[in-house]
Amino acid sequence: MVKVRIEGLKKYFDKVKAVNDINLEIIPGEFVVLLGPSGCGKTTLLRCISGLEIVTAGKVFFDDDNITYLSPKDRNISMVFQNYAVWPHMTVRSNIAFPLRIKKHSQSKIQEKVAWAASLLGIDNLLDRYPTQLSGGQRQRVAVARSIVMEPKVLLMDEPLSNLDALLRVRMRAEIKKLQEKLKVTTLYVTHDQVEAMTMGDRIAVLEQGVVQQFGSSNEIYHNPVNTFVAGFIGSPQMNFIEVEIVNKNDKLYLTTKGLEILLLDIFKERVSRLSDKRKYILGIRPEHIYVASNKPVEKVASIRGKVYFAELLRSDTVIHLEQKFGLLGIKAPGDLKVEEGKELEALIDLSKIHLFEKDSHKAIF
């Protein structure tokens, strides 16, 4: 188990700042997910850590060793690639044995380790096949077996599940997570899929434009997003963003816009009272924190009425788009709810679960 520390890491491609001053500290044995939309620099960051990309500036440490300019083969790391990168001219056995053969382990040791890795991933019966004779999922298992066979200091995974079908992805998600917990290897996992990030990561680093927007547990990132980007990127359906003003009426603070007036609960008051009311703010409400009037589990709510513009009937849930003067409001309702498009509906916003952001900086107030 190794601690990974990244200090002021920068990687520019000509003028494109793919990774722009990233600082991260990953505790030994932790499973960290680098999450972000495509082009956010997450893969570049991973490749800088692997040594496949030479950094422009900054340092990478494994424990206290500065490995910034070490070549990949000397870093004692391994990697699972997006397209598996299982060598097609070698059998599964030779593929898995490869890292050990290069390190000149004894034949018996190699055999023992290959058998161990193969049985961990349930591919014992495929050892003498060639990769072209395998399905995508099996190839992925070979790639993972190859990456753990030499017991690396750090395991890097670059969107390893993105080429698998949806069902297999869910299964591999759990398997990889369990495997990592068993091996306790420090892992960096790149993905653009928030579900993978939320389910697998001990901590998640949300990246955008080469910068870490927020680094924390899934709980922190979901409940306390630091800015509108993180708030909008995490959660499905996406958080509702509404431009509001702060209004003081009879000593009570309200967030208002056309057709909406939301009372600020006392728990938020302190943070808002310090703000100037001349600036613009963005109110954020997650669709799952708005309830349809008929099932009302919480006390402090704001009522809102509108016509159903469109209903996505997922059957497990129903996502309702409610017409409002400020735009459409997304609501996540139970799947058994009877909804008709064009009909009036009353919805209740959970006042304790709202978020407020500054409009100019996009930073969270609460």
Binding site: S50, S78, P88, T132
Partner: protein, 275 residues
């Protein structure tokens, strides 16, 4: 049961394909067959038109070609020239093709274009100055001189071919090898080369055949150490027709044998197809 009939066009489509294939085969194979038959025919049979299929089998023409006209020397020359050409174009072409396929650098496209420019000048324009230069540095009329000239002819296209075959191997394969303990050069030899072997074999055939068949430059650059085509042009063409056919036969055969042996590498190996 009321089954639908397969439309006529669909039913005869395989027949049409076979017909076209047969035409193509006749087109390519007739000269070969005629050359082969005539090469082994006795001179009596050869001059009797109705005996297309010869009645007497003889190796006499080859004897006179090989020993009387000393073609065996020319064959050895040709084999070594083609071999050296192949070797040189691989030695230079592989790194050059790798650089073109893997790296982005200023002037890359210009360089690729430059490769084609060398093919722009007619050989006649280049051959005479080349001979003068070769005479000055003392490699005219030598196997090496001809090999260098042939390499220069083959290399531009070999580089472009190599860059395109190497582009067919995903960078991830090499990167994975580098992660798991190889340097970039080791990764190239352990991972990339085995994967592009079919393509390399095809390129080898290409380089070999260009050199084996090249006659113009070889004739100008050499006098005594002639390659086979140059030698045949000078000697066999002044001989009776059946000698010419024997010469045509020994020109065609080595190339065919060579292709026969590397042919299995031309078919996609391990199920990967390389464009």
């Amino acid at each position: 049961m009321n089954s639908q009939k397969i439309p006529l066009l669909l039913r005869i489509r395989p027949l049409i394909t076979i017909f076209i294939v047969v035409i193509i085969l006749i087109w390519f194979l007739t000269p070969l067959v005629l050359i082969t038959l005539s090469a082994f025919a006795s001179s009596d049979d050869y001059y009797q038109f109705e005996k297309v299929i010869p009645t007497h089998f003889t190796l006499h023409h080859f004897e006179s070609l090989f020993f009387g006209l000393e073609a065996w020397k020319a064959i050895i020359n040709s084999l070594s020239v083609a071999g050296i050409t192949m070797l040189l174009s691989f030695l230079i072409g592989l790194p050059a093709g790798y650089a073109l396929s893997r790296y982005v650098f200023p002037g890359k496209n210009f360089l690729k274009l430059l490769c084609m420019v060398t093919k722009m000048f007619p050989l006649m324009v280049l051959a005479v100055p080349l001979l003068i230069i070769f005479m000055r540095i003392g490699i005219s009329d030598s196997t090496w001189g001809t090999s260098l000239a042939h390499t220069a002819m083959v290399l531009p296209i070999i580089i472009l071919i190599f860059s395109s075959i190497l582009s067919g191997v995903s960078v991830e394969y090499e990167e994975a090898a580098m992660i798991f303990g190889l340097s970039r050069i080791q990764a190239f030899f352990h991972i990339t080369i085995p994967l592009v072997l079919p393509g390399l074999a095809a390129s080898a055939i290409f380089a070999f055949n260009i050199s084996w068949n090249e006659v113009f430059v070889a004739t100008i650059l050499t006098l005594t150490n002639r390659t086979l085509p140059a030698h045949i042009l000078k000697t066999a063409m002044a001989s009776p027709d059946y000698i010419k056919f024997a010469a045509g036969f020994i020109m065609a055969v080595p190339a065919m044998v060579f292709i026969f042996f590397v042919r299995k590498h031309l078919v996609t190996m391990w199920g990967i197809s390389l464009k």
